[in-house]
Amino acid sequence: MNAERQDRGLLRVNEEECKGCGLCVEACPPKAIAMGERMNHYGYRTAMYKGSGCTACGICFLVCPEPGAITVLRTVKRMVAALQTETGVAACASN
């Protein structure tokens, strides 16, 4: 059931831009961000999305001091997906 449930959002961290200040980790309400172990080209440990839990609230984006280090995506067509599953219609998009 969990595997089928969609998160409302998704987070992308630009590892080259992130300076590893950790403010997003502190700010994230569902604690979906962690500091990675890997260092980037400039020697900063960067933030990383844990892979699930993002609600697309955007507070991590707002506290982040770098203009483009964080991009927050919001899920759309969740309703469509659920509807299609319920009615047994085949997915129109195949990856």
């Binding site: 502190e26 001091p65 203009p67 995506l73 997915a91």
Partner: protein, 489 residues
């Protein structure tokens, strides 16, 4: 089949368009700002950029950057950018807004910039109610220069210049800018926000947007003070610095709205637009038939290379004398320069000016070695006499030329010009008697040019008449001396 396979995403929060794609500050690191990890400037930049995006004003925003860590705003914001001298951002923003009334002008300043060296500028910009938005980033220290105490430094806070902590008896109390400006009548919106936690950050974002909206609506002066972390100078981890904003800074600088008259405010009238370039000659009264210098044909063939120093007390007409001479040269189509040099006191101080007239373009308006010195009193003579070129003239206002100033290699015309002018009708015309003497000694300027110059600079017809009389008298006096000189030769 699963719903995952057709999940799609749209961008909810991404780098605002008001930022440049890349920052060309250096060859390298063009993808990131120069700010330290956890710096509040980056966060405030982002809020400002979001507001610019949302209001759709990128193409008419002018951002005035300060001196401090945020000096490089022009590398980041894809808007009109000006970088002001230390503390002057709100004064520069005033000029920007007034000369470009349709633009949205933001003065972005730190606490060292705004509350110390720029305290006068912000006070008066606020008091005039300029229709600008000021973003005031307060981190309680001078960060860029290494952490000296600022007016905003907290009591007890250790900085490089308050190693034992700020002591109010020695360094005064923290300056609360928002409260101070809120005592003024004109500001429309003043709020202090913080970057201390999520709630504060989200609120700061809204406040900055409101401050920008106010300007778009033409309401007047808005200032947002942002309590902002400086992890590097505070020697804290970014998260701890954030907490320090919330737990320490806030005690001294309470968050809140200090002024909000946005509901009652009516849009300020737009300032009058600047006149068109073509209209300027009319406004300055130099239109009509009068030729501009570049069109003038030189009216004299005589070899003229005048380097004149005129000196005297303020009020003796030193500058006017030089001006008439220069204006006459201009009228005659010569190259001229006139450089006044006087102290802050307009009367009773010393005053002098440099005048040059030549056929060739003038390299420097300074006259360090004059070929004519007009000294309207003894101190001026003593000051400049030694520099007169050999073969040059000294025209001195005095009965007797001081013997110790005498030089064998210069000609002298010493007369009590003040008394002579007094006899003509007014002692103040002494300058024109002396000018008349100079014109006689250095022929070449057409009389018509001199008349025209006099009429342009002296408006009162009574004075024009007296001055013409004075010029004639000066010429007579010079002729007498010139004959003596010729006889000697």
């Amino acid at each position: 089949m699963s719903s995952e396979s057709i999940a799609e995403y749209e961008v909810a929060y991404a780098k605002p368009k008001a930022f440049y794609e890349r920052y060309e500050r250096k060859e390298e690191l063009q993808h990131a700002t120069h700010y330290c990890p956890g710096c509040g400037h980056g966060t405030v930049h982002k809020m400002l950029a979001r507001a610019i995006d949302d209001l759709g004003i990128k193409d008419r925003t002018i951002l005035v950057g300060p001196v401090g860590c945020s000096v490089f705003t022009y590398y980041y914001f894809d808007v009109g950018n000006v970088q002001a001298a230390h503390g002057r951002a709100s004064a520069v923003a005033t000029a920007m807004k007034r000369s470009h009334p349709g633009s949205v002008v933001v003065s972005y300043q730190g606490d060292g910039d705004l509350s110390a060296i720029g305290s006068a500028e912000i006070l008066h910009a606020a008091n005039r109610g300029e229709n600008i938005t000021v973003i005031f980033v307060n981190n309680a220290v001078y960060s860029m220069t290494g952490g000296q105490a600022a007016p905003t430094t907290l009591i007890g806070q250790k900085t490089t210049t308050t190693p034992d902590g700020r002591n109010p008896l020695n360094e005064g109390y923290p300056l609360r800018v928002s409260e101070l400006l809120a005592t003024l009548e004109a500001p429309v919106y003043i709020e202090r926000v913080g970057l201390g936690d999520n709630k504060q950050v989200a609120h700061a974002d809204r406040a900055i947007r409101r401050a920008m909206e106010n300007q778009v609506r033409g309401l007047g002066f808005s200032l947002i003070e942002v309590l902002s972390p400086c992890p590097t100078i505070w020697k804290m981890k970014p998260v701890d610095a954030q907490r320090w904003v919330r737990e320490e800074m806030e005690k001294t600088f309470p968050l809140g709205v200090y002024r909000d008259r946005t509901k009652d405010a009516t849009p300020r009238p737009m300032p009058k637009t600047a006149p068109a370039l073509e209209a300027l000659p009319g406004i300055l009264g130099i239109d009509g038939d009068e030729d501009l210098a570049e069109d003038a044909v030189c009216a004299t063939d005589a070899a003229i290379d005048l380097r004149v120093r005129v000196a005297g007390f303020g009020g003796q007409g030193v500058l006017l004398l030089g001006e008439v001479l220069a204006e006459a040269g201009l009228d005659a189509g010569l190259e001229v320069s006139w450089l006044p040099s006087y102290g802050p006191e307009m009367r009773s101080g010393t005053s002098n000016c440099h005048v040059r007239l030549a056929h060739e373009p003038i390299d420097s308006p300074l006259v360090t070695a004059p070929n004519v010195l007009i000294a309207m009193n003894e101190p001026s003579l003593r000051k400049f006499d030694a520099n007169v070129q050999p073969g040059g003239w000294v025209i001195y206002n005095g009965e007797e030329f001081p013997p110790d100033c005498a030089r064998q290699d210069v000609h002298v015309l010493a007369r009590p010009f003040t008394q002579i002018a007094d006899a003509l009708g007014d002692a103040r015309a002494a300058n024109m008697v002396m000018l008349g003497a100079l014109l006689e000694m250095t022929p070449g300027l057409p009389q018509a040019s001199i008349d025209a110059a006099l009429r342009r600079l002296v408006k009162n017809p009574k004075w024009v008449e007296l001055d013409e009389c004075a010029l004639t008298r000066g010429r007579e006096l010079a002729r007498e001396v010139l004959q003596e000189v010729l006889q000697e030769v």
